[in-house]
């Protein structure tokens, strides 16, 4: 495949990924940065980099994971560069209120604000798990840390968020994920794991072998 063909293929792949994942990535980056404009800018930059380096993008097995990793790296870089500026903003010496999502419920705004109070590693872990919907193992793989570290950060982060959001809140108010935090014991199946006898199951389609899905 020639370069132009590769570029066309990459452009189409990026375009599809753009439609499929853009909004979800913005939501995750918004949780990470606390600034809606920044989040959109970071995600668009990630897509632009995918488009600028077609060969690399076409090789990745999981486009969304690749884009998310690039966007998070960009956020980290921006965080480092603006550390002094952000300190000035936090201490009130510079006025720059973070850009928020139009019409966002006040409770969600409070949650975003509370997230920004967490340390960056803890915030990244919470965001990847709760906003990007990654499993504990996927978060560990994405951040390059052990699973135990992810579980500890989640536990610590949730407790801190609960405190920040409501001084009277108890950790038990969270969705019960304590079993997962205890360790990788074989989990129980979902509550309704299979059809009832009087409710015969519908099978997979006959030729559901789809090695190329």
């Amino acid at each position: 495949m020639g370069t132009s063909g590769e570029e066309r293929e990459a452009r189409e792949a990026v375009r599809q990924a753009y439609s499929a994942h853009y909004r979800r990535l913005v939501a995750a980056l918004y949780g990470l940065t606390g600034d809606y404009s920044d989040a959109q800018d970071l995600v668009q930059e990630a897509y632009a980099r995918a488009l600028a380096r077609p060969r690399q993008f076409l090789d990745v097995a999981d486009p969304e994971a690749w884009l998310r990793t690039v966007a998070i790296n960009l956020a980290r870089t921006r965080f480092r560069r603006r550390r002094l500026f952000d300190t000035l903003v936090r201490t009130g010496r510079v006025a720059r209120p973070p850009d928020s999502v139009p019409g966002l419920d006040p409770n969600r705004v409070a949650l975003i604000a509370a997230l920004q109070q967490l340390s960056r590693p803890t915030r990244e872990t919470i965001v990847l798990h709760h906003l990007a919907d990654l499993s504990v193992h996927e978060v560990a793989e994405t951040l390059g840390v052990p699973v135990g570290t992810v579980k500890a950060r989640l536990s610590r982060g949730r407790a801190m968020l609960a405190t920040l959001l409501n001084e009277n809140a108890e950790p038990a108010a969270w969705p019960d994920r304590r079993a997962e935090l205890r360790g990788p014991a074989l989990p129980a199946p979902p509550e309704s794991p299979a059809p009832a006898a009087a409710d015969p199951p519908t099978a997979t389609r006959k030729n559901s072998g789809v090695g190329n899905v």
Partner: protein, 420 residues
């Protein structure tokens, strides 16, 4: 407030986010390319400047050096933290091969996890509960299934909910034989084979299964999960059980008329006691026929042949069949190309027909709202579709579900175990 609602946060942000024009991303990409090029030039000049005074033949060294630097800048944004970036050589390839379940909230996926190893690719077929959210995800209930060797190929993987506590997983091995295993939803897999026929026969709610390719039909007794050979087999050659139709709509089998050699369809509405068999007046095609029905009365059959996709329709539950010659406006490829691709079809709840051919890495869809009298290009998920009692699930990455077959929402990717 005591319960941070991340789902609501994500939903509100996604709803409020407008998708900017893609051209703006393309313009941005151009700037990045120019910046990358500038960096490479600077690095090359610096490298040449360092090496030339040392008397080294820099002409041969500099391009290599610059290439290495170039790759570094390509890995990610400006000097990124050491976060692993997915790479084809290290990241396992995860493929959802089949999904089964009666309802959208209780689905299981057969997931192939493959990674390169010692010049070959080793795979582990795993059965994983599909959670509605990441918080509902569970680890695989079975791993390393069906393959005798991790490097073996595996084709036509199917998954079927057998009983409230078990699934039937099967696939065609390299020797062409279909291998089936019973998977316990509480963990573990076991061999499955049909016992000699039961004197009482199947009861309402029992499930018909086919454990071997073109083999005899069996039924799974729901009261004790035992599998028995069905006494009255459908009188056709090369029978192929249609798993996509709920039992309440009849037991449907496609195959070959033993007399004329044409494609035939057999249906039983009395739990396999009697079978209605009809020849469809066309020769067998390049793959098993695809049969789709929503109500058990209006039924469509599609057969891939060298001349295109042959279409048949019955509006009386399979008693009589008519030929349809409706043109299919596949958007981007011709007839010869279409028939070489896997084909599938479902009937939505509103009676419209959705048909697709696979176009890696997704699928291309047509739909018909007039019973196959006309087709139009349609949007769909980027992969084949499986029906449930309350909707549909798509074998996409990530998997997607729909209650009406028109609008789709994603599920989290299933949890997997990396093959050792």
């Amino acid at each position: 407030m005591s319960d941070p609602d991340f789902d609501a946060l994500r939903t509100q942000v996604e709803d409020a986010t407008r998708l900017p024009e893609f051209d703006s991303v393309a313009r941005r990409a151009k700037k990045i390319r120019r910046r990358d090029l500038g960096r490479r030039i600077v690095v090359s000049l610096v490298a040449a400047g360092v090496l030339l005074p040392a008397g080294v033949a820099a002409i041969n060294v500099t391009p290599s050096q610059s290439n290495i630097q170039g790759r570094d800048t390509e890995i990610g944004p400006d000097q990124p933290d050491p976060v692993p970036t997915p790479s084809p050589s290290t990241v396992p390839v995860v493929t959802i091969r089949a999904i089964a379940g009666s309802r959208i909230g209780s689905l299981y996926a057969a997931v192939d996890v493959c990674r390169p190893s010692d010049g070959s690719t080793k795979c582990s077929l795993q059965v994983v509960p599909l959670g509605a959210t990441a918080q509902d995800q569970r680890e695989p209930i079975a791993t390393n299934e069906l393959r005798a060797d991790p490097v073996d190929s595996l084709d036509d993987v199917t998954l079927l909910a057998l009983t409230p506590t078990s699934l039937l997983l099967s696939g065609i091995r390299p020797d062409g034989e279909r291998k089936s295993r019973r998977i316990n939803v509480n963990g573990g897999g076991a061999e499955i084979a049909a016992e000699p026929q039961d004197a009482t026969g199947p009861d309402t709610g029992d499930l018909v299964v086919q454990l071997r390719r073109y083999g005899e039909l069996s039924f799974v007794r729901q009261i004790d999960s035992r599998v028995f050979r069905l006494q009255n087999q459908p009188p056709i050659k090369e029978p192929s059980l249609v798993n996509s139709v709920p039992s309440a709509r009849g037991w449907w089998v496609t195959g070959v008329d033993p007399v004329g050699g044409d494609v035939a369809v057999a249906v039983s509405r009395d739990l396999g006691t009697t079978w209605e068999v009809r020849s469809l007046g066309m020769k067998p095609g390049m793959a098993d026929p695809v049969l789709a029905t929503g109500d058990g009365h209006t039924v469509f059959v599609f057969v891939r042949s060298a001349t295109g996709i042959q279409q048949r329709r019955s509006t009386d539950g399979g008693l009589t069949w008519e030929t349809l010659d409706t043109p299919m406006p596949w958007p981007s490829f011709g007839t010869r190309d279409v028939v070489s691709r896997r084909l599938g079809a479902v009937v939505r709840g509103d009676g419209s027909l959705l048909i697709w051919v696979e176009e890696p890495p997704g699928a291309v869809f047509l739909d018909s709202v007039d019973g196959g009298a006309s087709y139009r290009p349609a949007t769909g998920p980027s992969g084949p579709i499986v029906g449930t009692l309350d909707g549909f699930v798509a074998l996409t990455d990530p998997p997607a579900v729909s209650y009406d077959g028109h609008t789709w929402s994603s599920l989290p990717r299933p949890a997997i175990l990396l093959p050792s």
